[in-house]
């Protein structure tokens, strides 16, 4: 399990790299329903986070051509599915009334209605020069969509029409998700620079050079941004990007690309270990041993869900939410 499970009404929704999508009762582990994609679309995995609406769970798949499927989240019945000549690798389904998926080959954003999967708009004005990198899932801000593209820029588009509101060039290859917090956007680049951008108008509010190229999903929590790097480095900086608060480079190679807040800690993981670091100072809060390499993390109340690269998913209860 690579993704962050979507959780609603005590049920967790996630796909496995073996090609099966699950709805699991979080407390009992009972399978509410499952859907095997393989007979229909062949080998498939799930690297983008799903969107849960009142009645649906809508998941992207990592397969070409792209395949998006909306399940009745109570029964698992397919309500709609849409395939197209676009790739959706690692792109979340985001939005509220509508959803947006990415097209990484030609750079288009594609908006489909959530209730029926009907295409609403495309953004061809972006297609000629920008592509949506697999690690650069879009984010929703109100009814608008923010994303980064291969033309070294960050965009905000009107969620209703797909028309651009602003474009901010940052001049380097974006390597992280677009993370949003209280009207500000954070992205990281291949040269190790973090950017802080105002969501309203795209104005750059600050930047900071880390020296470690950030990769994966930035975690914005309170007054800080937690920054994972593929090299095994993880750190936290102030939201104003004027100070490094802490850094850890003594950990084993981290296999989690979506760190998760857990009380006063941030959860990450490596081969054989779920690791909690203090959000305040980066010290190790605790560790717990698991079989396999920790990959996907999620939470439902007091339960932490942990997926491993090898395919096991654990439900753990009683994990401390503060440094021990």
């Amino acid at each position: 399990m690579f993704v962050r499970p979507a959780v609603a009404d005590g049920v967790a929704y996630f796909g496995s790299c073996a090609g099966v999508y699950y709805a699991i009762d979080v407390r009992s582990g009972a399978i509410v329903w499952r859907y095997d994609f393989r007979p229909e679309v062949g080998p498939v995995s799930f690297h983008g986070n799903a969107l849960v609406t009142e009645g649906l769970v809508i998941t992207p798949t990592e397969v070409v051509p792209a395949h998006v499927r909306a399940f009745d989240r109570h029964t698992g019945r397919t309500v709609w599915q849409r395939s197209g000549a676009w790739a959706l690798t690692l792109t979340d389904v985001v939005g509220s009334g509508r959803l947006v998926v990415g097209r990484d080959e030609e750079g288009e954003l594609i908006a489909l209605t959530a209730d029926s999967g009907t295409p609403v708009w495309r953004a061809p004005h972006l297609a000629r020069r920008s592509g949506i990198n697999v690690a650069r899932t879009p984010a929703a801000v109100g009814s608008d969509i923010i994303y980064s593209a291969q033309d070294a820029a960050v965009y905000r588009v009107d969620g209703a029409t797909g028309q651009p509101r602003w474009r901010t060039e940052i001049g380097c290859d974006v390597t992280t998700s677009v993370s949003v917090g209280e009207g500000e956007i954070y992205v990281g680049c291949s040269d190790g620079t973090l950017f802080r951008i105002r969501a309203a108008d795209g104005a750059e509010l600050g930047r900071m050079t880390l020296g470690h190229p950030p990769e994966g999903r930035l975690l914005v929590v309170a007054d800080r941004v937690v920054v994972p790097c593929g090299s095994g480095w993880i750190g936290a900086v102030t939201r104003s990007l004027d100070r490094l608060l802490w850094e850890r480079h003594d950990l084993p190679p981290l296999s989690v690309v979506q760190p998760m807040q857990w009380g006063q800690c941030v959860l990450t993981g490596a081969r054989g270990q779920l690791i909690a670091l203090s959000l305040a100072d980066g010290r190790t809060c605790w560790m717990t041993s698991l079989e396999g390499s920790v990959r996907g993390l999620g939470a439902a109340g007091d339960i932490v869900l942990v997926g491993t690269i090898e395919g096991a998913v654990y439900a753990l209860r009683g994990l401390p939410e503060a440094p021990q």
């Binding site: 399990m1 073996a18 099966v20 809060c285 560790m287 090898e310 096991a312 998913v313 753990l316």
Partner: protein, 40 residues
């Protein structure tokens, strides 16, 4: 004053030891509610 200085020196000497001790990762054993093998 001498006593205070000595206390500070001792405290200063002990502090790194204390911090180093706290850095030892604490293994916790949460309750494992269930495990699902998805096969990959």
């Amino acid at each position: 004053m001498v006593g205070v200085r000595c206390f500070r020196l001792v405290l200063g000497a002990l502090l790194p030891v204390t911090l180093a001790a706290q850095e030892l990762p604490r293994q916790v054993e949460p309750e494992r509610l269930w495990k699902l093998d998805t096969g990959g």
